[in-house]
């Protein structure tokens, strides 16, 4: 048993794909345990009619129930009777997953190129408006019905990608040619995006039939259809959109792993000096990767418009900012973004479930999900724990010449 524990710990100490999964799982369990205790204890300070009497105090919240709602509620309670795959909660989860894949990928692409794109939000805002406006105006000249959908939806997505791409290229160019820090410029451009879009809205694109700040709706046939029909019981979610997001995710992973561009992008992100040595034009790479990142953010905006609301609203949710957390949680790996986006989707939908099924305040739910993100985002901590319980030798990567791994024992300057 001890041997098995040791070998598990040893595997944890070394990092590979399988180990990352194991580490993430360990993190999840730890976070749930700590969060569970927190929920249980805070139950003592709440007032309720029924609760667990223990040592004179009444514990109002049942942590088991809270986590049950968080994880299984987000899937629509699959263990209870009458469950269907097409339930509303699961659709909510997957809707968020879809949108967060786009923004998470956006952040991840820039991150892998060594750039911190905080501006996905702005790129999404701009891209979304471009999508809505393009589709509304183009609808006038395109036949209705199925043909219209076939033309308008790709056109709208393309418009979002283009607008987001251009909006991402701006901080890229500022970085490459004016040496402006992309963190500052993208944050600024987020604010500018809100300003530009609301000005454009009031100037030209405001829906005349509505007092709310929003564009006119796109024709119903131009919204991304709910497939299969009736999925989600009224929730705006399309499996088609999710499939597109997953395909894009795999595409980006393929781009990184197989193509010259992906190779150059990764090299630039890890070691700019080596990239320059290898013939990568640093400035062009900065603009290119920011453009791609912005385009992905813009696609996120396009799907938010075409799948969720059917129009652009001034009040854009913080999908772009959540994308940063998704990407960091995923270690900036495209495939990891899918998993992280799903986790965030669960938190969103599961949070709603907790709200309806229990008295636990939403703030506490925020703390629980925060714990999970926190723990999953610090794999190094668990790797360290793994190392503690095995001998130093086993934890060191093997080296045939026995030198310190990672330490250069050359570097000579011979006389």
């Amino acid at each position: 048993m001890r041997d098995r524990l040791e070998s598990l710990a040893e595997r944890l100490a070394r990092s590979s794909v399988v180990d990352r999964l194991v580490i993430s799982l360990a993190a999840l369990v730890t976070a749930v345990l700590i969060g569970g205790v927190l929920v249980f204890v805070s139950g003592a300070f709440a007032s309720c009619r029924t609760g667990l009497e223990l040592g004179g105090a009444t514990f109002c919240y049942n942590p088991m129930q809270v986590y049950y709602e968080l994880f299984l509620g987000a899937l629509g309670h699959p263990l209870e009777g009458g469950w269907t795959l097409t339930n509303y909660s699961l659709a909510t989860t997957l809707q968020q997953t879809t949108l967060l894949i786009f923004t998470g990928l956006s952040v991840a692409v820039a991150f892998r190129a060594g750039l911190l794109n905080i501006g996905t939000q702005g790129q999404l805002v701009v891209g979304g408006l471009a999508t809505a406006v393009t589709v509304v105006y183009a609808a006038a000249v395109v036949p209705t019905g199925f043909i219209g959908a076939l033309v308008l939806i790709p056109l709208g997505v393309l418009a979002g990608a283009l607008a987001g791409g251009v909006y991402g290229a701006i901080p890229g160019a500022l970085k490459a040619y004016a040496d402006a820090n992309e963190v500052i410029t993208t944050i600024m451009l987020n604010i500018i995006a809100v300003g530009i879009t609301s000005t454009l809205l009031s100037w030209q694109f405001q829906d005349p039939n509505s007092p709310n700040p929003q564009t006119a709706p796109v024709p119903e046939y131009a919204e991304i259809p709910t497939i299969p029909g009736g999925f989600g019981g009224g929730m705006d979610f399309s499996l088609l959109a999710l499939a597109f997001a997953v395909a894009l995710m795999i595409g980006i992973a393929w781009l990184f792993a197989r193509t010259s561009f992906g190779y150059e992008l990764r090299t630039s992100g890890i070691q700019p000096g080596a990239a320059a040595y290898g013939g990568v034009n640093e400035k062009r790479m900065t603009v290119a990767s920011m453009t791609l990142s912005g385009a992905l953010g813009g696609i996120g905006g396009a799907f938010w418009v075409l799948m969720v609301h059917g129009r652009w609203l001034e009040n854009v949710p913080s999908l772009g900012f959540d994308g940063i957390a998704v990407s960091v949680l995923a270690g900036n790996s495209p495939i990891g973004v899918g998993a992280a986006a799903f986790l965030f989707g669960i938190f969103d939908s599961g949070g709603n479930s907790i709200k309806t099924a229990t008295d636990v305040p939403p703030e506490l739910v925020g703390i629980l999900t925060g714990f999970i993100i926190l723990f999953v985002a610090m794999p190094e901590f668990f790797r360290l724990l793994g190392r503690r319980y095995i001998t130093v030798d086993a934890a060191r990567p093997a080296r045939a010449d026995g030198g310190d791994a990672g330490v250069d024992d050359g570097g000579d300057d011979d006389a």
């Binding site: 150059e264 040595y277 080296r399 310190d404 024992d409 050359g410």
Partner: protein, 547 residues
Amino acid sequence: MSEPEPGTTDGTGPTAAVETNTAALDGTNSDLAVHLDGITKRFPGVVANDDVDLRVERGTVHALLGENGAGKTTLMNVLYGLYRPDEGRVVIDGEERTFDSPRDAIDAGIGMIHQHFMLVDPMTVAENIALGNEPTKWFGMAVDRDRIDREVRDLCDRYGFEVDPDATVENVSVGVQQRVEILKALFRGADVLILDEPTAVLTPQEVEGLYDVLEELTAQGKTIIFITHKLEEATHAADAITVLRDGESVGTVDPDRTDREALAERMVGREVILEADSDPVETGDTVLSTRDVTVEDDRGVEVVSGIDLDVRAGEILGIAGVDGNGQAELIEAITGLRLPDEGRINYAGDDITTWSRRRRIENGMAYIPEDRQERGLVMPFDLVENGVLGSQRSGRFASGGRIDWPGVRDHAEEIIETYDVRPPDANADARSFSGGNQQKFIVGREFERDPSLVVATHPTRGVDIGSTEFIHDRLLELRREGVAVLLVSSKLDEIRSLSDRLAVMYEGEFIDVTDPDAVTEEELGLRMAGQRPDGEADRHPNPGESR
């Protein structure tokens, strides 16, 4: 601080070393400061040390000589408590010890000076020396700075170190930083000092200084073990040399009773030709030429001033000089990493002054960079991925924007085999290889690019003798095939034996361009220090004209 053992004599000199060998037979010699007895250390798949014996007499300098990957560092890590041996005993001062960590080894009076210094740059020399072992006052409430100062000054006086305890570490030279590391070990009470490739980062003058330091230390009864793969150092500074090969000890020798050739043979396991042979060959057209090239460094200071040079096909032009005289910037301008401020660069008939780096690579310019860990390799990438660096868009490995990874893998494995990169694992990250093996891989990648020009800066830096010989042979072979070679090296013997013509660079200019056989090493040294050739008011600024 522990005092030198009473009764310890200045056990320096060859006689002491010979005695080590004979006394070693009975195994209980109390004069042995360190006795490693039958050490075996295995790593998954390899035996890094196989039944190695090491007997180090007190008050001597003992060299541990071997090629990259011979197991020197592993053995010393065992002594320093970083590894626990699978078999064998560690005996310090006649007493068997088991070390669980370097802390235990330090307590037993062992200090290790790593090749890469572990100093806090913004802190003073004295603070660094005391760091971790600070004497305190007011019941541990405050650091006793006066005492640190006093003790550090005492130490410097005692061993004749010229070190200013109040200087900030980042402001002192590498040689001084090394002394700070040595002082740090002494401050902790080390009697046995392990130096891992101590000359690797030093200038020739600093190396001489280090030898003096070692002498002073042994005179005061300290014991030195130093790891090296350089024959000169071992024969010059050591009282005894233990040679390791493939994890096994192949004997301890007295440096005065052996010669370099015999040592090299022992180390490599076969006969080695130390001097590369460069028969003159027919040179062809001019491949590379620069005219009046002026380059500024990152701070905007002009460091290359109007350099003219020509390299013909089938010729090796060497550039000698003390590092920091503009060689790096000149090479960066030629290879496309830095835009020259003035002048033109011609390559194979084209004016390439403003060409991109990629275009130069595509046109057959191979480049072994000075800084392998910053430029030459992407450290977190494995060797397969590193094998395509620079060729990621070339038709050989990519088509339609996609990289042919199986082809790249074959290529990387070929380089690994041909250039003897150890361990031969293409899937291992570049950073897990030792410096010499990283260098071999870069050299292999660049040489196998089918180049028409090779720009090689310090191509054998950190590389062991056997591989150095191979790299030299390969370089000469390329030259015979009609490749033009621009070679920058601070190894005088290397640059003299390989170059057809030799330019000496000093403060951004060529002091002299000559036939390397026509000058002595001393003359070269003087020119590297800025002295122009005697009786020649007019120098030859243009190596293209000197022929």
